[in-house]
Subunit: 203 residues, 2 copies
């Protein structure tokens, strides 16, 4: 990584289909330009309170469209996708587990994120369930009892809360949201623009 | 055009920046695949009443982002863009003029649409003004007095109204909205997917 290159920030909610699609692409794209990516799971519910929005899937006309677009966009990007039978779901457990893991092992936290997203959007696991989150962490070699205890701690809960607040302060209003050198990009459909931005240093 | 190829439907509001960007691209893309495009100006205000939405530019956090994204997306697509000093604006006059012209000369109506969009998004003309709309029509060789009289007719007003209603029935919830063989695509950022759809006949 060159000295002038700042890490790319990637904000997402674990229940976000387009966030999942971005999670399968952003690291490889960044690596082509010797850039690192910092992952930041957040709670879209907190964001939507500020923006006065609601989950797009609940909106008239847009709801049916977006369900179709999730799957079509996945095919377009060659990413496996099966729309979850429970959707959207709460992601507090997964997000808190992420930040606790991240404090101990950044690589492990990244692997755990992929595992959560794929469990939800490929294997139709209910990632709102504490049990499922623990199971996914165990598969990454995490001590389940230790994680379960951590998830009850106020400090661990505060990490997810404050990550969401920081995101809002930076202008994040949806998922995925990628910030490259202070330039904000919303949506997985901005991948071509992100690529051009990284190639040219801004356009 | 092959016998099996249906025209592509392109729904847009004249005040929509992404609609303008699509208007500069969709005909050339369709032509590469020997497809025709039917243009349908609509009133987003009618759509937003059904969806309970409002102009994205008015939303907290999303508003400032989208203003930036309009201009960045234009640069990305190599389309001239200057954000209008009055925005968004009412587009009844332009939309009604379009349908009246379309009933007389389809090619002229298309040229008029380009003129309206470029007047608004390049030359910063207030296209909500009847005077400006008439001026743009005169530049296309239209008889101004005849058009001005037509814009007062109930039947001409009804054309724009019913185009908007038909769009809503087809699931249109924003601008631009493109329908290819019953497959809906929302947003200028779906151009790569539309291209792949036209290339492969669906994916």
């Amino acid at each position: 990584m060159s000295q002038t290159s700042q890490p790319i920030d990637f904000y997402f909610d674990f229940t976000s289909p387009y966030g999942y699609l971005m999670s399968e692409k952003i690291d490889a794209l960044a690596e082509r330009f010797d850039r690192e990516v910092r992952w930041h799971p957040i709670l879209l519910g907190m964001v939507f309170k500020v923006t006065g929005s609601q989950a797009p899937v609940t909106l008239p006309l847009k709801g049916p469209y977006i369900l179709r677009d999730f799957q079509r966009s996945a095919r377009f990007l060659n990413i496996p996708y099966r729309h979850p039978s429970r959707f959207p779901v709460a992601t507090q457990a997964a997000g808190r587990a992420y930040y606790w893991l991240h404090g101990r092992d950044v690589v492990l936290a990244r692997q755990f994120s992929h595992a959560v997203y794929r469990a939800f959007f490929v294997d139709d696991k209910d990632i709102s369930s504490l049990e499922i989150v623990l199971e996914l962490a165990i598969q990454q070699g995490v001590d389940s009892a230790e994680l379960q205890a951590a998830l009850q701690q106020t400090e661990v809960k505060a990490l997810l809360q404050s990550a969401s607040e920081t995101a809002i302060e930076r202008g994040v209003f949806g998922s995925p949201f990628v910030i490259v050198d202070d330039e904000p990009f919303f949506g997985v459909d901005r991948l071509p623009q992100i690529e051009q931005w990284l190639e040219t240093g801004g356009f």
